[in-house]
Symmetry: D2
Subunit: 288 residues, 4 copies
């Protein structure tokens, strides 16, 4: 799938600050950036780098004396994904879990899985297969949490959302992650561009490590798991915030877009199909 | 410094479970394990592995049908450290920060630095040098937080301790880390064995990334920064818990020891000296 | 019903302190204290008084120089109660609510009803009659919260319990109260002695104001609503703690008992019957 | 002092709801409502009543089918107050405390005094006289908490503010109350109109029970303790919210005013004078 993504951000700078931006599409084994353009007006000092031990691309910039910043990113990104029949997934006992997945078993800032143990096992423990458990978590989130723009803040965590029962994509992802980790399923946060997301915005989903694969899920049901362009991967939004600000800077405008290249055809996953077939944003040789 | 460390743990197993143990001394550029012995009684399936992107050594074990587990670890560890005169530390602007330090700027499960910003800047923002700020944080912790065994639980986080003002080494470390991160100083959690710690136990300290070096601090003042044998490094205790349990297992006995090899002589850091000289557990001489 | 109640408490006093005890059976229109005996060893200064605007009886004492306190209370209490067929309850619109019930609509220290609104309406809003809603809350608590002695502390509130899903009678009562208030049902906390409670201890239940009556419910299902001897009424445990301590005093022993007078016969409420018949600890016959 | 107070509120009603308004000036021994006018447009069913055990005046209204509500209140209120030289205050031991003050020793929804004990005693325990302690708390709040409109929500409590260190009058009052209660000083919340408050709005202060009197303090330093017209008294904002809404109603406009009657002359309390002289909104015979 070839997607064209775009984001335009405007900031007011209150005093000279440093910013970390995470809006560039990842370059990884299953996602190629065919073409991209990034600009900041006025010109300020910046550099791109990869976060340690990950493929997340960060822009680090110093505002200097700029009072306003206009940031623009455009890219064409070729995304591959794999479809995995659930019946082919061989479960891996925790004791043989790939060590790369290990950090995603632990609680994190916005995903206090350690506090959700009883609730998660009570609600989902009867199901046996981890994939079934994740599907049940998605249904539970859909039935019990309202998608209410503006109802939460950057401080809101899974521990809040599990009771307050409203939020946006980030909150749905955090609660989904926390519930999965509480069930000993390694789960990580994914930020990205999402095809056909309405209204268009940056999006947050999550990935569970099941049977040796990172399977992707959208707890909001607002995007297609196979219509995502990955920006960042992390334990939660603390690792993959669109902008981390060291100083004092306010966002004044945001516009995000994700369209399909005109010559492409997109077939989304139905929920019916998701019951038997998982999506991974990793591109397997096996799938080729 | 050659230290002899030991830990003996006993667990009651309620039903077959998986455990991750983090009690082995790290092997890294400045710390060599000269000799070690590890045993579990009864014999159960286990393996040792390194966590992804770190030198933390984990033991992963399946309890199987065992009802009781006796775990024993002994090691002789050769630890090098470096002393750094503060006046020689060249500060690195955030915008040039080594990317390995970046994850330690973000909030984590037990270190909600995002919620401590105003407090941290009000208390410590007037000081200019990050090392001075850390020393002031250590003094503030000493003056304002009581070391009270049993006063906190595994659920306690920096956000609690900053108000409740009591805790153990883990809580002191978490609050120190959260305050440093709130001041944009990358800071990480260190678990280890500590020479002359009374009563002997596993210990928790923290390390700040200043001037390109990881400098080590003990917020409790109960150990010497240069008397530590590193077990684990992480964002907070979620990454470096002595035991992570997947199932149902209770700790029934714990005994920890850390002594100096008889032929060695130890000179601890005085607080007076710490004002002008930092300690790093990285061995620069070795690297030079 | 004539109940014989008893409580024996022992405290260690760390330095001279003031204590408020709430262990005396209330004297009110439907509950008569036939006989009672109260003693403190050694003799210390104390007085009994009624809390403002309530019939809660407090003992206020100064420990003076005593190092240990032995407190003993014995009483024979004649308790009347009323049975109300649900079909006879005429609902009172909120706008006509008796003003005495009003304070029990608001959130309190341990019952943050303001944070449970969406959850409560989602779970119980489809039911129409407030009594039905309360019965559904009781079922939900029974199915979703585990009775686990020692799992909570004096700091635990409804906001914790709704997620952590374990606790003791106090926690069950707090969560029940918070859910009822979130549904605009005035609800208050009741502490007391409970007949046939196993193991014997002080007990906590709650009362809802429905149709002009305070109806009593035990969220733990461990006692009979008509087998309670009321000690205190309040917004939550903050108003009706067994002991409020101003100073430093530790409880070292507690023994509580509640038996039926030998000549009496007790018929508990079955859950089946509770579906159509409510219990009020107010004695209407007496008032009629 | 004769004050003219006014408030104009506009609400959008999403579906038929019940509202409790607390905007009427209290009538009590030291405050007379000389004249007042209250109106709601369109005409809806409402009644005025006093809350149980208090002199708080509530308006209870049903929106019916109204889609918009315009609420208007005007009053001329004659307020008396007393000045008390601190040296004349005879302290009352806790054990002799008037029982009316007792409920104000306990923690409440927004004032978790039980969690602030160590902090409060560490910061203010060295001072001996409760009035000195309260003055020190006021200074501490002024130095450590920023008055930042919009920084908090209706969910914010003292436990948040003590760390996050910003808020509005309500948050200052809650934290002041929690710290006083933690020091065993009975303290209550006061909502009212405030003379010379800029910008004009409803205001929140607190009152401490010291030496048998309720002494009034403004933690924000934005009003004069002797320039307040009392609306409500309670444990915290849960008891004295401007509007409690049962249903779905949004505030769209608010305008508040408090001026001095033209023939009056106002002499505010200076902070210098407050060191030796307390203000009580109760009118003592002694002061007459």
């Amino acid at each position: 799938m070839l997607f064209n993504v775009a984001s335009d951000l405007e900031y007011t700078v209150h005093f000279p600050s440093t910013m970390l931006l995470s809006i560039h599409a990842q370059r990884n084994a299953s996602q190629s950036v065919v073409e991209e353009h990034f600009s900041i007006e006025p010109r300020v000092q910046f550099e791109e780098f990869l976060a340690e031990g990950s493929e997340n691309r960060f822009i680090r910039l110093k505002t200097g004396r700029a009072k306003q910043l206009k940031i623009s990113y455009r890219a064409s990104v070729d995304c591959r994904f794999s479809l995995l029949p659930i019946r082919d997934i061989n479960l891996v006992p925790l004791v043989e879990l790939n060590r790369t997945a290990l950090p995603y078993l632990f609680p994190s800032r916005y995903c206090q899985s350690d506090k959700l143990g009883r609730l998660a096992w009570d609600l989902f423990g009867k199901l046996k297969h981890p994939y079934e458990r994740v599907l049940a978590i998605l249904d539970w989130l859909h039935e019990n949490v309202g998608y209410v723009p503006g109802s939460t803040s950057s401080d809101t965590s899974a521990y809040d959302t599990v009771t307050q029962r409203q939020g946006v994509c980030r909150d749905f992802a955090h609660l989904g992650i926390a519930l999965c980790r509480a069930l000993n399923i390694p789960t990580r946060y994914l930020s990205g561009y999402a095809y056909q997301l309405t209204p268009p915005d940056f999006h947050a989903c999550f990935e569970c490590h099941i049977g040796g694969h990172w399977l992707v899920f959208d707890a909001t049901r607002l995007s297609h798991p196979n219509g995502l362009v990955r920006i960042g991967t992390g334990r939660d939004a603390a690792d993959a915030a669109v902008a981390s600000i060291f100083g004092s800077v306010s966002l004044t405008k945001i516009q995000v877009d994700c369209t399909l290249s005109p010559d492409q055809k997109f077939v989304g996953m139905t929920r019916q199909r998701a019951k038997t077939t998982a999506v991974s944003l990793e591109s397997f040789a096996a799938a080729a």
